[in-house]
Amino acid sequence: MASSSNPIHELFLRHQKDVFAYILTLIPDRNDAEDVFQQTCLALLEKQSEFDLGREFFPWACGFALNEVRRFRRVHYRERVHLDDAVIESLASVQFKSAKKIGAQLDLLMDCLAELPGDKHKLLMQSYSYHGRLKELAKWLQIEIDTLYKRLERIRKSLFECIEKRKERS
């Protein structure tokens, strides 16, 4: 019987956030990405017996995620603003080819997050905790929504630049 010591279970727990982030690169809408993530998890669990422990889990999981992305796009194509099919395949391909490079960059995220000034860190946390209810957050903070967008943009860009700088230094 599977248990918490099941290696696939542990791999799943370890990489689930990365799988979700991968899906978000292909499905711009966060709610849709979460739906696709759910389907991906189910597909992974259904096929867990086929996983070879000698392989890397994350690329294997991304294969399922990509399939679920394609399936989602087929079903919801007319309802959504989409990236083109060719772009999806290109994004998937570049992430597959540069998996280690991207992974190494993102490993630096937590360090960069720790460097953020307290108020920026707090605003970022609030914005993500509000789960897209940025208008309500802006209202509560008594600022215009565009002002909030700009502040968040500056914070995310500074995080991104921090990651790039650290990568270059290393």
Partner: protein, 617 residues
């Protein structure tokens, strides 16, 4: 792709467009531009890293329990936040709040469940699928088809009808199975994800892969896109299906498949009764059939189509589409003739038609520490708090002095907490809650507060470095076991501070129960553990809707512990706790409430039987 003259400019543009994706403000035009730029590999790589960074931040923080309550918010699913351990506390909290992440959390829970029960279930199914029947020759035996599983039983009393064989526990549900309950609740989860809660007395037959026949009694059906935990271990026959979004994408007509042996999946979930056919259009609805066969249906969310059936079980061209919070009753005229549909808003029979919508036992207490730390009161969230000067979440204890004027600050990120304030009687009445209740009896204070409103666990690790820093007073005070006889923990409330809990929101979040008492053990922690200091001096105030229910003036450390026990009425909307500095400033006022809880009592006698009933919204 577009020519890329200036790579730096393109990368900058990619970042801006990626940012528009992050804020979900991207326009179709921007998306078009993004499509053209992303064909360049470097641009695609930049975009991928940016969006994955965004995804990781989503993951990191969206597990926080944060909600701004709106009238449209559906009632949350309640799960004990301690179920999955520390790493999942936030997820479970969020699970109870927000639709999209409920999918995510459900998946995680499902994943754990699946992994644990995988082997057993597959073996079990195969056993049923291949075992020869005793009563049918093996070469003629129809293949047994399972459509779901019993996923909940609460206080069930099965019918003593000798022809009825009760199921064995949480058994798999085969087509054609009839269930007869004299009392209690039973939940069937179909492979499609649809859930049916039967409420005894009730007779229900599983007559298709997506529906059943309710001969008598009451049920609630919930049909959503999500796939259930049993779906992924569906029988071999059903595993040949290829539809991945069976409930959300089907466009077939409303016909139902009532042939129990038919393997053609029914596109829409339907409940048949002696007089009606209620077909789901993606929703949650209740159906009740009385002994005369009269059918009533109420829609909680989404839509259903209700068709009146004649004596021959066929439609008579009379049908109605019911929307949210609409009800209909199918009656047969006393003089005979075709059935009549009576539609009205709200429940058909408000006094009796309380449909059970969730199979959850109501809690007996709500843990205020869990709530302050972001939970729903049923878990063990700790080591988080609230900034008393702003009402925002404090993810770490802030051992600093704060000042913020006297106004009431709403806590918008937590639906069970109304707000915070810093009481100071110098300038007149102080607002206690968002309803505008005020209190004019606070003494003048120095208007300062030190530290966070903080939920701390009872146990303090011997190597916890926070306890060595005096500013972290809620840790520096040591174990404080005298305040935590139940080992729940400590609510740190250094004066001058007030926090108001929303009792009405708790009633909505935990239907069927109401807060009846507030209990805690009050007292001051000991600063002498680290530095010699004066005795502290504080005043404790407890209010319900602005009415003073309890006060203790001039509480000192040497007074030891004080039991706080405040009765709350069923109509009380807010509970306010306030602590003032006793007139000697805030130095050494390390005030805590140990094991603070709200005791809950059922709102009706019926709920004492178990299960949770909810009237329509």
């Amino acid at each position: 792709m577009n020519p890329v003259e200036d790579n730096t400019a393109v990368i900058a543009e990619i970042r801006s467009l990626a940012e528009a994706v992050c804020t979900e403000s991207i326009t179709p035009e921007q998306c078009g531009r993004l499509n053209s730029l992303l064909l360049d590999e470097k641009a695609a790589l930049t975009y991928a890293v940016y969006l994955r960074m965004h995804g990781l931040l989503c993951w990191r923080w969206q597990n926080q329990i944060v909600i701004i309550e709106t009238p449209e918010t559906p009632p949350p699913v309640q799960l004990p936040a301690g179920l999955l351990g520390g790493a999942w506390q936030g997820t479970v909290g969020f699970f109870s709040q927000t639709k999209p992440f409920s999918y995510l959390a459900a998946t995680v829970i499902l994943g754990v469940t699946l992994l644990v029960f995988w082997a057993i279930k597959v073996t079990h199914h195969q056993h049923f699928a291949t075992a020869p029947s005793k009563s049918v020759p093996s070469d003629a035996r129809p293949e047994r088809v399972f459509v779901g599983r019993i996923t909940g039983l609460v206080d069930v009393k099965w019918s003593d009808d000798p022809r009825f064989l009760p199921p064995m526990g949480f058994a798999y549900v085969p087509l054609g199975r009839k269930y007869k309950l004299d009392a209690g609740l039973m939940q069937i989860t179909y492979d499609s994800g649809a859930k049916v809660i039967l409420e005894g007395p009730c007779t229900y037959e599983v007559e298709s892969t997506s529906g059943g026949y309710l001969a008598l009694g009451k049920l609630t059906a919930k049909v959503e896109k999500e796939r259930s935990e049993v779906r992924s271990q569906r029988s071999e026959v059903r595993s040949q299906r290829s539809d991945h979004y069976p409930l959300s994408t089907s466009h077939q007509p409303l016909a139902t498949n009532s042939n129990p042996q038919s393997l053609i999946p029914n596109p829409l979930f339907a409940i048949r009764t002696p007089t009606a056919l209620v077909t789901d259009l993606g929703t949650e609805f209740g159906v009740e059939v009385d002994e005369a066969g009269v059918t009533e249906s109420h829609v909680f969310r989404g839509k259903v189509v209700l068709v009146a059936l004649g004596d021959d079980g066929k439609g008579r061209g009379r049908e109605v589409t019911l929307g949210e919070n609409e009800s209909a009753r199918v009656e047969k005229p006393t003089g005979g003739g075709n059935p009549v549909i009576v539609v009205r808003p709200g429940l058909v029979k408000p006094e009796s038609s309380a449909f059970v919508r969730r199979l959850v036992r109501p809690p007996k207490v709500l843990d205020l520490l869990d709530i302050v730390a972001g939970g729903n009161g049923m878990g063990r969230c700790r080591e988080r708090g609230i900034d008393p000067s702003t009402g925002m979440e404090d993810p770490v204890f802030i051992g600093q002095e704060r000042t913020a004027g006297r106004q009431f600050r709403p806590v918008v990120w937590h639906k069970l907490i109304d707000g915070v304030f810093m009481p100071d009687g110098k300038a007149g009445p102080v607002q206690l809650d968002s309803a505008g209740h005020t209190f004019a009896g606070f003494p003048a204070t120095d208007g300062r507060v030190f530290g966070s409103i903080w939920a701390r666990a009872a146990e303090l690790r011997p190597d916890d470095r926070r306890a060595e820093i005096t500013n972290n007073w809620v840790y520096a005070m040591g174990p404080g076991e005298q305040f935590t006889p139940k080992h729940r923990g400590l609510l740190g409330l250094s004066p001058n501070v007030g926090v108001t809990f929303d009792l009405e929101a708790m009633r909505r979040a935990h239907p069927g129960v109401t807060p009846s008492r507030f209990r805690a053990v009050a007292g001051l922690g000991d600063p002498d553990r680290l530095v010699a200091s004066d005795d502290g001096l504080v005043d404790l105030w407890v209010f319900a809707d602005g009415r003073l229910k309890f006060k203790r003036i001039g509480l000192r450390r040497l007074d030891g512990t004080v039991k706080v026990d405040v009765e709350l009425g069923p109509g009380d909307r807010f509970l306010t706790l306030a602590v003032t500095d006793g007139g000697d400033e805030i130095v050494s006022d390390w005030f805590v409430l140990g094991d603070p809880v709200l005791e809950l009592v059922p709102t009706t006698a019926e709920n004492q039987e178990g299960g949770q009933t909810m009237n329509g919204p």
